[in-house]
Symmetry: C2
DNA sequence: TGCTGGTTAGTAATCATTAACTAAATTTGT
DNA sequence: ACAAATTTAGTTAATGATTACTAACCAGCA
């Protein structure tokens, strides 16, 4: 559904965001990095919003694939959550710019369409995780003294904050390695007994 | 140390941020809301960066007061954490715009001074919480099977995500009331057995 | 020949900021 | 005590940068 050049543009946009933050994603910077002039961008995208939407769509695809693959696997709930974390860390480690997009919701406040898009991604993932946790509670794998909705907050909160820290530290520590340790603590927290 | 007008300006800036996000904090919007012209702002602040710094200083004062009061109290560690949460929720419920500032680190990426300032606030609070938790572990109140550094991530991650959800929901639910329930789960998670 | 993907040149809007001026309040010198 | 000097806090008008975006044109190619 996307031309080669369109893919090149959104990939370059991602690089730009991870380098300079969402603020750095301007048509000028983008075209410079692509080695073409600014108006040339408009041969491939109607306007900037469409670029951002394409960006969020990519993010959505990347994360929802992870979540849904786990939902439909036949592992224990605890293992599903572990896999969820590991895959996320792997995905971010491979494409750090994705992390930059996830945490820039604040920037999209003005455009109604973008808010909708990003809320959609977040909501869908939360729902999937919630389902996994509830199944785990029914199977007596996951503690039931804390409501699943709260467990989601702990898990997603930790995931987000941890990645944010990595980002703040300019990717200087090994996300996958350090992340693996965090996952062990997550397991201790959500497991029954 | 601040004139009345300066306080008026930063208070108005906070309102603006909670209304339209950090993007909405322009000199034009600010002066319009204050009922003066744009250049008049510069009679009170050297430039926009100074306004943002004043904003972050206020945030720093607000949060560090909370953290340090708890550190020096002689309650149990678990109770300290509970109080920490409650006070934060209260503070945000009273001045919702503060919450908007806390989560806009992303916006400050370009200005070195602002990154430094906000990292300072976050770091200081994390350190205080870490101390509280370690003391709790030594007193056998708080579980020791998870390292305190990870507990900090769970606690701060949950706090941040929860407030962010409230913000996203346009303050439609009662932060203090719903927050109180979350606190009970936090206690279950960090308590020894 | 006509589409694709570029170019150059330019526009309108918005951004923070400055220059120059002014009225009113305050401080200072006698 | 009071006029002169200065400071304070505002104004209008403008500037240079940067933003997203457009119009008009052109080369290569199917």
């Amino acid at each position: 559904m996307q031309t080669e050049r369109q893919q090149e543009i959104i990939s370059t946009a991602l690089d730009l965001i991870s380098e300079k933050g969402i603020q750095g994603l301007t048509i000028k910077n983008l075209s410079k990095k692509l080695g073409i002039t600014e108006p040339a961008i408009y041969r491939h995208f109607e306007n900037k919003i469409q670029i951002l939407i394409a960006l969020l769509d990519l993010l959505k695809k990347n994360t929802s694939v992870i979540f849904e693959a786990e939902l439909n696997s036949d592992e224990t709930a605890v293992l599903k959550v572990e896999r969820l974390f590991e895959k996320h860390f792997k995905s971010f480690a491979e494409v750090p710019s994705l992390a930059a997009v996830v945490f820039s919701e604040e920037m999209f406040r003005n455009e109604e369409k973008l808010i909708a898009k990003i809320s959609e991604v977040i909501e869908a993932n939360n729902k999937t995780l919630l389902t996994i946790l509830k199944q785990g509670q029914q199977n007596n794998e996951i503690r039931s003294d804390i409501e699943a909705e709260h467990l989601v907050i702990f898990i997603m909160g930790a995931l987000r904050l941890f990645v944010k820290k990595w980002q703040f530290a300019k990717f200087t520590f090994n996300l996958q390695k350090e992340g693996h340790k965090l996952i062990q603590s997550v397991k201790l927290i959500i497991s029954k007994k």
